[in-house]
Symmetry: C2
Subunit: 159 residues, 2 copies
């Protein structure tokens, strides 16, 4: 069906405003099923409210939609977010197989009010050994055990 993009973006923006009222970051998001036009996922930023840096609006809305649709993939869904997703949320969007994203504010707008994710994109583009957070490989032989067990497992859910 034809989706009324403005209507859903208004819902995402209302959640962003609610989030401001709750003092926890001006970001809101909804996930809409394309075939029905129904909102299955809603979320706003909860990082400081719940002490969890992963709880950006998009992650909360994706989790909510997956819970409600009882599916870890959202191939028939579109995401509306009040602000262009950060790299964490963008990767989550790819993992969720969401079909399209509509956003209101840009990441440049977000950077201007103190939410700057550009450094993460810059870190991603660097070789591991040049990144600010030191990353070191150890114990590969121990880590490989679970991988072997996974390959040999017959009753797994592949994804």
């Amino acid at each position: 069906m034809e989706l009324d993009h403005k209507k859903y973006m208004n819902e995402a923006c209302k959640l962003a405003e609610l989030s401001v009222t709750r003092g926890t970051g001006p970001f809101g998001c909804v996930v809409v099923q394309k075939s029905t036009g129904e909102i299955f996922g809603k979320g706003h930023n909860m990082v400081t409210m719940r002490n969890d840096p992963s709880l950006h609006a998009e992650i909360v809305a994706i989790s909510d939609a997956c819970h409600n649709l009882k599916n870890f993939q959202l191939t028939d869904c579109v995401l509306y977010t009040s602000c262009e997703p950060c790299p964490m949320c963008l990767a989550a969007i790819y993992w969720s197989r969401i079909d399209a994203v509509y956003y209101g504010n840009t990441k440049t707008d977000a950077a201007k009010i103190g939410f700057d994710d550009q450094f993460i994109y810059e870190e991603f583009a660097k070789p591991i050994e040049e990144r600010k957070i030191k990353m070191t490989q150890i114990c590969s032989e121990v880590a490989n055990i679970a991988f072997k067990e996974w390959v040999d497992k017959s009753d797994k859910v592949p994804y």
Copy 2:
């Protein structure tokens, strides 16, 4: 204090093996407080188990550590993960302010058994208009309201 990296990596790998037993992805992770050597966060992949594409081992362990430490930042912590983090988890690691990362398997090892995140890094490097998931800006004036309200708010928790 001096951390016994092998000990903590073994814990992460045990969680990965437990995750295989539960049929839900061969990945485990622990978050350790540097000053005490105590494990504050534990997690394994729960994507198919909980129908949530964001529940990678690192996200679960970071959420757990933040919950236990009652803090949305983990500046005094180190993360041990059985496999090199995907872009979603790596971004979450940056947001969490974790100090260092130790990993067992590489992303190349993961790709070989069907968990390939290279396409996400490739998407990130593209301009928005060339990405597989279509991203469109709409309703910027509505989205800007929450940003303005956030700037004007006096009792917010900045982060």
